[in-house]
Amino acid sequence: MRPSESFPKVKYLYGPVATIFASTKTGSWRILRPVIQQEKCTRCGTCAKHCPLDVIEVDRGNKEKEVVIDFEYCKGCGICANVCPRKCIEMVPERGVK
């Protein structure tokens, strides 16, 4: 390891500034959880397109791959269930879901 790597150069900025890209774990807000009926889903991607948090992964048209929601962030707003053209997302109470 070169010295510059073990002792990275630092400098200090003065005044109000943010230099860290970070997130809040908004998953803890969730009261309702979206549950996707994977077999009924056509992978059209409408849910992903309208998710305000952009936390739904859809491989469009690929039935082999399951739709995945990142529950670390999902607030459980239910927009995905509302916009789903096949109505294959159900919002279920968070309690009782493992």
């Binding site: 003065y14 005044g15 109000p16 500034v17 943010a18 230099t19």
Partner: protein, 400 residues
């Protein structure tokens, strides 16, 4: 060249790149002249013809953040309109330099000089210089750029000149060579906060209570650093341009037993009165404050520690306070001296009233009387040029 022309010339010499200015009397000639420079091509800059002073300062903030030298100029209510964004410029530590042509604040409406506009901004976190004449306007602006942009300082600066008395009064101004200015003032290199897509940061987001105090403290430390930097820059300025400046200018103070503290164009008149009074045997002097922010308390204390009676002429009313703001700060700077000098305050020259020799002399006579024990010094500032009929100037007929 008058003060306004000197200001525009200084900004051209500083090679400002973005100009945002809104016309207001008596600053308008600066806005016009800079527009001319850009139009004729003698200054390579973008002129943003803004729709208000608030926008003028906001544009300067945005521009400076991209790493260019931005400038603007204003007066009076224009400066007051900028108030909110002056704090953003200084809080984000952006070294924007602005010429302020001092004019009274409304109301009453007045087009003419006093210092209430810039005094109202004395806590806005900007450096403040006060010029006595057009030469000082030009020189202080160049100095201000260097000080403001110094990485130890990073504070915006206003260079103030008295409306009409300096802004519109022609005087001989030595305009330095561009090459010399270039060697004094290298291109602006943003080292602190900036907006660059290749090196992004988010400037001016919400700051929690756990950091706010520290950022204010950084700001305070910058003013402390400014003392050192201003001294260095003034020294270098002297080396290159042969004109020596300091935080204060003393005139015949060494053996004086009465000194009047002044700001801006009244200083010239005060020096003239000092010569008159000295011819009559009075040991009087003048101390002109050049840099008001940071406030040079040590320099004032050192220069006046031997003087038993000191007067301070405020060109703003200090409404609701015990006296004018300059008097309050000078009094504070001198407190603790042994023996404690008598520090008398004066308020005068408001709303364009001339601080003519006879008014300044009246102040000196008052101080001499205090010195000789003929009168007691009164607490608070004495209104030196107020008319006796002050309370009866708008007479109307009423039906009883």
């Amino acid at each position: 060249m008058d003060g306004n022309a000197a200001a525009a010339e200084a900004m051209r010499l500083a090679r400002v790149q973005v100009i945002s200015a809104y016309p207001i009397t008596p600053q308008s000639p600066i806005a016009e002249k800079l527009a001319d420079f850009v139009a004729e091509g003698s200054l390579k800059a973008k002129y943003v013809r803004v729709e208000s002073e608030h926008t003028a300062m906001s544009v300067a903030i945005g521009a400076q953040l991209t790493g260019v030298r931005a400038c603007t100029a204003t007066s009076s209510v224009g400066l007051a309109l900028m108030h909110e964004v002056l704090g953003v410029a200084s809080g984000c530590r952006l070294p924007i330099v602005m010429a302020v042509v001092n004019r009274s604040l409304a109301s009453p409406w007045s087009l003419w000089c006093d210092h209430q506009d810039s005094m109202a901004e004395r806590d806005s976190g900007w450096l403040q210089f006060y010029a006595e004449d057009p030469q000082e306007v030009l020189d202080y602006l160049l100095i201000a750029y260097r000080v403001a942009e110094d990485p130890r300082v990073l504070l915006p600066a206003m260079v103030c000149m008295d409306g009409f008395f300096v802004s519109h009064t022609p005087a001989v101004v030595l305009v330095p060579e561009q090459e010399t200015v270039d060697s004094f003032l290298p291109p602006y290199n943003p080292a602190n906060l900036y907006l660059d897509p290749d090196d992004p940061m988010f400037v001016n987001d919400l700051t929690p209570p756990s950091d706010y105090t520290e950022m204010r403290y950084q700001h305070k430390v910058a003013f402390e650093e400014a003392f050192k930097v201003i001294t260095e820059v003034q020294e270098e300025f002297f080396r290159l341009f042969r004109r020596r400046y300091s935080f204060i200018e003393t005139y015949k103070c060494d053996d004086a037993d009465v000194v009047l503290v002044t700001l801006g164009s009244m200083s010239g008149t005060a020096k003239y009165v000092v010569n008159e009074l000295r011819a009559k045997g009075y040991k009087v002097g003048v101390l002109k404050i050049v840099v008001f922010r940071p406030f040079p308390a040590d320099q004032i204390r050192n220069a006046l520690k031997h003087v038993p009676v000191i007067g301070v002429m405020d060109r703003s009313a200090g409404l609701g306070a015990e006296g004018g703001p300059v008097w309050i700060e000078v009094s504070r700077a001198l407190s603790g001296l042994e023996p404690m000098p008598k520090v008398a305050g004066f308020v005068g020259g408001l709303g364009g009233r001339d601080l003519a020799p006879h008014v300044i002399e009246k102040a000196f006579r008052n101080l001499i009387d205090i010195k000789e024990g003929k009168i007691e010094m009164r607490q608070g500032s004495k209104w030196i040029d107020v008319r006796e009929d002050a309370m009866k100037i708008r007479e109307v007929k009423v039906n009883v």
